[in-house]
């Protein structure tokens, strides 16, 4: 895909508020020097690629530290703090350690597949970065079908995970691989539907145009589309294998899942790619929901890419937060959640959005009137939909568990040999429906609980 011609910026090239000034300057120089016409493309592509790879390298290094520090704070401990100021050099030490380690490969592993998987896992996350608008004129490849590209690329990552899990010839790894496949098939649908609502509303699939839409109407789309934000956030955390849905690695169940056999830098690639993918998804959310490089008038003072990175890390913090807080779902619960909850909600949302777009187009009302109404309605709609779904489709356990029973006296049954002729003391042994309540008479105090005995049906 050829990128669109870069708009020449009249600003000075050293104006770092917009890095496209630099590439524009270089383009100009090449034109002036009568260079070959394709050199412009090569140079600008190289510049953008170098910038993105540098950013990703920094991300892979620094995000380990960020994640460990933030989670450390959440877990009432300090996190890495020994190596360098605030432990900032810790990721470097980790990386050096990983590089030094021997790369083991199981004897029965499928060699080619085993080796390709970490690389194939890393590529999509990096490629996604190319279509993101980093500033008003800063996107390496401005695709008309940017959102479709993102969805296509993020679906490739799961196949790489499957490849690694299958190639390892390990049962745990195969479990992880199959779980990834099942989750991909399931979570692709709500995430596509969630983004479809946004595409409908903004009328474009171009990410740069979506940011411009949000700039034009002075509103981050998350306000207009709260439900897709939730759906996309949850389903992308499933695609990213992060903790509420990290079934593919599930350390406590399948001991690391698909990368259980990887060591050394191959494991390092998996680890780095997870961080890169997390940042890529955060960047997507920051672009389409939070307005990318635009933030009211701030983008005239601060370089757009700085605002964008700030938003990326705000979303990334949400990911770290959920990871540090929530336990994991079971695979059937996770899949059921996608099919029974998120997919119908996403469909309902699309219908609502389509109606809203139609109303807006037909009436031609001004944005200042329509958008606040839509915000209010959509927030209300999302809340009502979620609450109603919880009511009707919620899990079968009671919202709050049965209170325990409390006994402060236990009558001990005498042994048969010692038993008096008239066995007065009731045995604490119980039938299936009636657990012991021998102590409940007398001083037995049943504090504020329903006395419903026996196993639940």
């Amino acid at each position: 895909m050829t990128p669109r011609p870069l708009t020449l910026i009249t600003d000075n090239w050293y104006d770092i508020r917009d890095l496209s000034n630099l590439s524009g300057k270089i383009e100009e120089l090449i034109r002036d020097a009568n260079g070959p016409h394709w050199a412009v493309w090569v140079v600008s592509a190289l510049l953008g690629a170098i910038g993105i790879v540098a950013f990703i390298g920094g991300v892979a290094i620094i995000n380990i530290w960020i994640e460990r520090r933030v989670v450390g704070r959440m877990q009432s401990r300090l996190g890495p703090n020994r190596l360098g100021p605030f432990g900032l050099l810790q990721p470097l030490a980790d990386a050096i350690k990983l590089m030094q380690k021997e790369v083991l490969q199981p004897k029965a592993a499928d060699g080619l597949v085993f080796s390709i998987a970490p690389i194939a896992f890393t590529v999509p996350g990096i490629v996604i970065m190319a279509v993101l608008p980093w500033g008003r004129n800063m996107s390496l490849a401005r695709l008309d079908v940017g959102i479709l590209f993102i969805l296509a690329m993020s679906s490739l990552g799961a196949l790489a995970v499957f490849t690694g899990g299958y190639g390892s010839n390990n049962k745990y790894a195969l479990f992880g691989a199959m779980r990834v496949i099942a989750m991909l098939v399931t979570y692709e649908i709500p995430s596509v539907l969630a983004l479809l609502g946004l595409v409908l509303f903004s009328g474009t699939m171009d990410l740069a145009d979506m940011v411009l839409f949000q700039e034009k109407f002075w509103i981050p789309l998350v306000l207009v589309q709260p439900l897709p934000f939730l759906i996309y956030f949850i389903s992308s955390s499933a695609e990213l294998n992060r903790t509420p849905a990290d079934l593919a690695e599930a350390e406590s169940e399948i001991a690391g899942g698909y990368h259980v056999e990887y060591s050394g830098m191959k494991f390092g690639l998996f680890y780095a790619a997870e961080l890169i993918n997390a940042v890529a998804i955060s960047a997507i959310i920051a672009t389409v929901f939070l307005g990318g490089w635009w933030f009211y008038k701030l983008d005239e003072l601060v370089p757009g890419w700085m605002i964008f990175i700030g938003k990326i890390y705000a979303v990334y913090f949400l990911f770290v937060w959920t990871r540090g807080t929530l336990p994991r779902f079971r695979i059937d619960q996770l899949l059921a959640f996608a099919w029974k909850w998120m997919t119908p909600m996403a469909f309902a949302n699309i219908i609502v959005v389509a109606a809203e777009v139609l109303i807006w187009d037909e009436t031609g009302a001004s944005a200042g009137l329509v958008l606040p109404l839509y915000i209010a309605f959509n927030m209300l709609f999302a809340g009502v939909l979620i609450v109603a779904w919880v009511r009707f489709m919620g899990p079968r356990f009671s919202r709050f568990p049965d209170r325990l029973r409390y006994f402060d006296r236990i009558d001990v049954p005498s042994l048969p040999a010692m038993r008096a002729p008239a066995p007065a003391a009731a045995a604490p042994k119980s039938g299936s429906g009636a657990p012991a309540r021998s102590a409940s008479e007398g001083g037995g105090d049943l504090r504020g609980g329903r006395l419903v005995g026996g196993p639940r049906p």
Binding site: M1, T2, F149, A152, S155, L159, T163, I181, M205
Partner: protein
Amino acid sequence: MITDTGIVIAFYVIGASTVVSALMVAAVRNLIHAVLFLVITFTGVAGIYIVLSADFVAMAQVLIYAGAISVLLVFAVMLTPTGDRRNAETSFQAPALVLAGLLLAVVVFVIYDTDWRIASRGQFTTTASSLGRAFFSPYVVPFEVASVLLVAAMVGAIILTQDEDEEAGHAA
């Protein structure tokens, strides 16, 4: 007419790698490897689409073929027992080879023998929105039929893979 140097290079590189990986699909002995090579082929074909300036179709290709159909294939392969995961040929191998070769020869002959009405048109600038318009004005009936087809396929797939015991239970 595609004349841009980079695109010309890209076409031949992508085309060669696509053909090679398609050949590997036929050649490798392990069905999973065949599926993985097929994914590379699909991605390569998507690259060809981009060269032909059909960006929307290319992305749909990656999303549907490389993302979804290959996953379905993987699923199906994993559902078959380990012994059946070979990529062997039937006794029709030689006739199939001859037939495919003959077909290729005939098609290539026809390609060179036909006088195509080639336009001197540049690349398409944007396809997504015009495709969308095409779907909703001249092609609205096929579009709806396609959606019906997909629903039918979905229902059919569900019915085919449903457990019969379960089915009986529902009927009863």
